[in-house]
Subunit: 158 residues, 2 copies
């Protein structure tokens, strides 16, 4: 687990710091030839769960970065719910992951780049809990570039 | 694994048979003091994945019956996708599970009782893939009764 000396109050610097950690997770996915998306869950300035996309490794289309991170955070905290926690994820969550976020009762979601194809906001922002704060655009360019470069390299191989 | 001598063509009897199997899964959840919801995945007249709600046992709010069944079916089949498969689930899937169903590319979803609170159709039927057929109301009364009795017994205990 990584620690950081931040308070509970989100700040721009804190958001940048933790999104950089989510990007590190995305790079772990990339090293496994997975679509590079990463996520961390933060509580009280501390990362309590990490996850990266593992759909190929686990042969499971539901093994998105956020799902891994939610489960890891619940295991770490010992509680089912992620109240007072923030999810940082490099790309906008899909409908499944936003639906999962609802069940976790997470307080805040910060994502990097929007996903105009499968992002949950394309369907409805009502998927997440009305009490969950939402922020987008944190390190969006770096997050997008990772995914774009991945698909570009795939296309060049075929 | 349970086998049944059915063809690939869904029929009312086949749907009843497999929903009864999903109800057996729901009863396994009930025996663990979980909200009794169960699911099976069927391919070519054969159950290739089973699941029941395990949110308390696994301390994981994402451990819904459908998620367990999707993962089990993918493990069994060796393929990530569940094309030409049917999901039978006792209660209407939530947004998370319907979003997961989208990723699996499952051909057909049959559910028992509607969930007027958290069922995905409350938000949008567009969550599932446009090519996924949807049927509801199969053994709805039995499926509902299981859940209602569970919550009634909880209320009487407090």
């Amino acid at each position: 687990m990584r620690y950081a000396n931040f308070t509970d109050e989100p700040s721009v610097n804190q958001d940048d710091f933790f999104m950089a950690e989510a990007i590190k997770e995305a790079k772990k996915a990339l090293a496994l030839d997975e679509v590079p998306i990463g996520a961390v869950i933060v509580h009280g300035g501390k990362i309590i769960g990490r996850g990266h996309n593992l759909t190929e490794q686990l042969n499971d289309v539901t093994a998105h970065a956020e799902m891994q991170a939610f489960t890891a955070a619940a295991n770490f905290s010992g509680g089912k719910y992620l109240k007072d926690c923030t999810l940082y994820v490099t790309i906008e969550p899909c409908v499944m992951c936003a639906g999962a976020a609802y069940w976790t009762q997470i307080s805040r979601i910060v994502y990097g780049a929007s996903d105009p194809k499968r992002g949950f906001t394309q369907l409805s922002e009502r998927i997440i809990h009305p009490k969950t704060d939402l922020l987008s655009g944190v390190k969006a360019e770096e997050s997008t570039r990772l995914v774009q470069d991945f698909f570009m390299s795939k296309r060049n191989k075929t």
